[in-house]
């Protein structure tokens, strides 16, 4: 009986193996440029990935193909995207990138969504030599790995928190209360914030953390309300961003400045919270008013996906594709040359000029944005501002 079973198992394994082998298309002279990636379409990472990242990949490939193809060192070739679901699992994602780079030998890869996922691909991109420009990965630990093939195009925590510190100092804010999610992102942001606020002379009168997936922040908010800080900062993830906004409004906790992190830039935040969020600040890089290029990007996204992109990392995802595109136009698909071109070049993108230093975006400054009416206006730094800041924040509606 065991032998029969073994035979059956081997047959299944071989059958699947040949089916996988059949997936790789034949290489032809003018074959399309194959660009592979794994991203979450199911599981807990899917919400962020499907708001911020994959819609940009799809739109980009379509735009490039509509324009006759990707310029590969002067020669136009069509683009073929190979996008697979990573099921929000590190193991599945690692396996998929091993397939894309090791077995399928795609021409280029695009990054997965999120810091943890980007960490997991790091050793692979170095092993196989694929440059990767990541729009949704932040953290000094990530950059500390000094992977020559990795480029982070999103602003790192210290930049974003320092921008907030400068903004508040310019408005004479003296005291602040901070809550943060117990996760790499929250901890790094909180550390950066403390450092910046100390330098700016803003006293942190309360600092609390909460676990990922928290369901009630009211007790913490009540405590903080009693201490009456000038500014309140929540270094939060999307579900808690929604929660902290709704609960602060419920208890009428209305400090002069109210800041929440990831998720404030999502259009769904505005649509779900309604006019209540007038004056709420958060992480954001740009909006359609920032530049004609930004306007064109928002319009194209709206036309293709029937929804607006978010006002922070979405544009960075688009900029990452632009960096890749411009580097390929210059040096072609030789990946070593491509890596050097990305590391040494300057690129014209929707978020402005981008240059990298030690794998980090060295040109995009920290930005503070604020909801005013239906737009997430950039209010800091002054040279990027699209509207004057509302300060103090109006009362909750």
């Amino acid at each position: 009986m065991r032998r029969t079973l073994l035979k059956a198992a081997v047959a299944v394994a071989l059958g699947s193996a040949s089916a996988f082998a059949g997936l790789a298309p034949a290489q032809a002279q003018d074959a399309p440029v194959r660009i592979g990636y794994a991203i979450a379409r199911t599981g807990p990472w899917a919400a962020g990935a499907q708001i911020t990242q994959e819609p940009n990949y799809i739109m980009w490939a379509e735009q490039v193909n509509a324009a006759g193809g990707l310029n590969v060192k002067g020669k136009k070739r069509k683009v073929e995207l190979i996008g697979l679901d990573d099921r929000s699992e590190a193991e599945t994602m690692v396996r998929t990138y091993e397939k894309l780079m090791g077995s399928d030998k795609v021409d280029l890869i695009l990054p997965p969504w999120g810091t943890g996922a980007n960490f997991a691909v790091m050793p692979l991109i170095q092993k196989f030599g694929y440059p990767m420009v990541a729009p949704t990965a932040t953290g000094r630990k990530l950059l500390g790995m000094k992977n020559p093939y990795f480029f982070a195009i999103l602003q790192q925590p210290d930049l974003m928190m320092d921008a907030l510190g400068e903004f508040l100092k310019a408005r004479n804010v003296k005291t602040a209360a901070v809550i943060h999610v117990d996760e790499l992102f929250g901890l790094e942001q909180a550390a950066a914030l403390e450092k910046s606020f100390k330098e700016k002379g803003i006293r942190i009168i309360e600092k609390k953390s909460y676990p990922l997936g928290v369901k009630d922040l009211k007790p913490v908010l009540n405590d903080i309300k009693a201490k009456n800080p000038d500014a309140f900062v929540a270094l939060s993830y999307p579900p808690d961003t929604f929660l902290v906004t709704a609960q602060a409004r419920e208890i009428a906790f209305n400090p002069k400045a109210f800041y929440a992190s990831v998720g404030t830039a999502f259009p769904v935040y505005r649509d779900k919270m309604g006019p209540a969020i007038e004056g709420v600040m958060g992480l954001g890089t740009l909006n359609p008013k920032s530049s004609p290029a930004a306007k064109a990007y928002f319009d194209a996204h709206m036309a293709r996906h029937k929804k607006e992109p978010d006002r922070w990392a979405s544009a960075h995802a688009w900029a990452a594709l632009q960096v890749m595109q411009q580097a390929v136009a210059k040096v072609g698909l030789d990946r070593k040359a491509l890596r050097d071109a990305i590391a040494g070049g300057e690129f014209d993108t929707v978020i402005g000029k981008v240059r990298f230093r030690n794998g980090e975006n060295a040109t995009t400054p920290g930005v503070v944005s604020q909801w005013q009416g239906r737009e997430f206006e950039v209010v800091w730094p002054p040279d990027r501002a699209t509207a004057p800041a509302l300060h103090p924040k109006p009362a909750w509606k």
């Binding site: 009986m1 396996r95 790995m145």
Partner: protein
């Protein structure tokens, strides 16, 4: 087949599979690794839960504990030591907790074991934040993928061998007795408490060792990703589809299920979950005894 022959067959199978790193591409190797991981998880789950009818959802908790032992120990300790340590930590945890919760039955037990994953996840998050001032840990200089593969192969083979040995032992009989009627087994003089705790801890050992072995592939370990409840659900699903009362059922099912999921995922990147769901429903409706029962049917037809 006697136990001796069975163990010989397992060793021979493991030896044959050990050649895979020289034959297969990186991708096929990591696919084989996933199959082996789920073989190890599913057979040990079936060894305890299949026999006793105590539905445990604690696999993710054990797996995550193992992964965190790697996160803490890797770098200062050799990989070959970290893996068994991960298993031991999970087994110790299972024995401790098992002593407290193994008198619960049915849905209460299932819900509580599911809660264990959450409990450990929050406990680790809290202690990491408080004492290490970080939550995620970076693993650098991970072993070669072939080394990880051989390690997982070894653990999986040991898991199958251990389950075969348990099934042939007094412990196996005790577990089956508990599954059939726990009060009767008690009346007949079986120390059901000791049997349950032992089996629960053995299953946890292998889940923990597998977690510790596989975690090096992820570079970055954080509670949210290693205490993934999906790993526990998938293990239960695989064992049930294969036939949780048997030894071979969960093994076949782990291979079939992993390959099928992967094939569907790669061929139908958008619709694979629907196809998979329909297949599962069909399987449960028409093959309640699991894949292993197919063999019996086939034999009857031939006879």
């Amino acid at each position: 087949m006697t136990l001796r022959e069975l163990l010989g067959a397992i060793a021979a199978g493991a030896l044959a599979l050990a050649a895979l790193p020289w034959l297969a591409s990186d991708f096929l190797l990591s696919l084989a690794l996933t199959c082996l991981m789920y073989i190890g998880l599913a057979v040990t789950w079936a060894m305890f839960s299949g026999a006793t009818n105590y539905l445990s959802l604690a696999t993710s908790a054990f797996f995550g504990i193992g992964a965190y032992v790697t996160a803490w120990g890797f770098g200062s300790l050799p990989y070959a030591l970290v893996v068994p340590l991960g298993g031991l930590a999970a087994a110790a945890f299972a024995a401790l907790v098992g002593a407290g919760i193994l008198h619960l039955r049915g849905a209460y037990f299932a819900v509580l074991t599911f809660g264990l994953g959450e409990l450990v996840r929050h406990a680790i998050t809290y202690s990491e934040k408080t004492y290490a001032h970080t939550v995620g840990r970076v693993l650098q200089d991970a072993p070669e993928s072939s080394v990880v593969y051989w390690t997982v192969l070894l653990v999986a083979a040991a898991a199958v061998a251990a389950c075969a040995a348990v099934r042939a032992s007094r412990l196996g009989l005790a577990l089956a007795g508990i599954g059939a009627d726990e009060e009767r087994a008690q009346t007949l003089g079986v120390d059901t408490r000791a049997a349950k705790i032992t089996a629960f801890a053995i299953a946890a050992f292998f889940a923990g060792a597998l977690g510790a072995a596989v975690a090096v592939r992820w570079t970055y370990i954080e509670p949210a990703s290693v205490f993934n409840p999906f790993i526990g659900f998938q293990t239960v699903l695989i064992a049930m589809i294969g036939g949780a009362q048997t030894l071979a059922g969960p093994m076949i099912s782990a291979v079939v299920f992993s390959l099928l999921t992967e094939l569907l995922r790669l061929q139908f990147p958008y619709a694979y979950l629907i196809v998979l769901g329909v297949l599962l429903i069909v399987l449960v409706l028409y093959l309640p005894g699991g894949l292993a029962s197919l063999v019996g049917r086939w034999r009857r037809v031939r006879a």
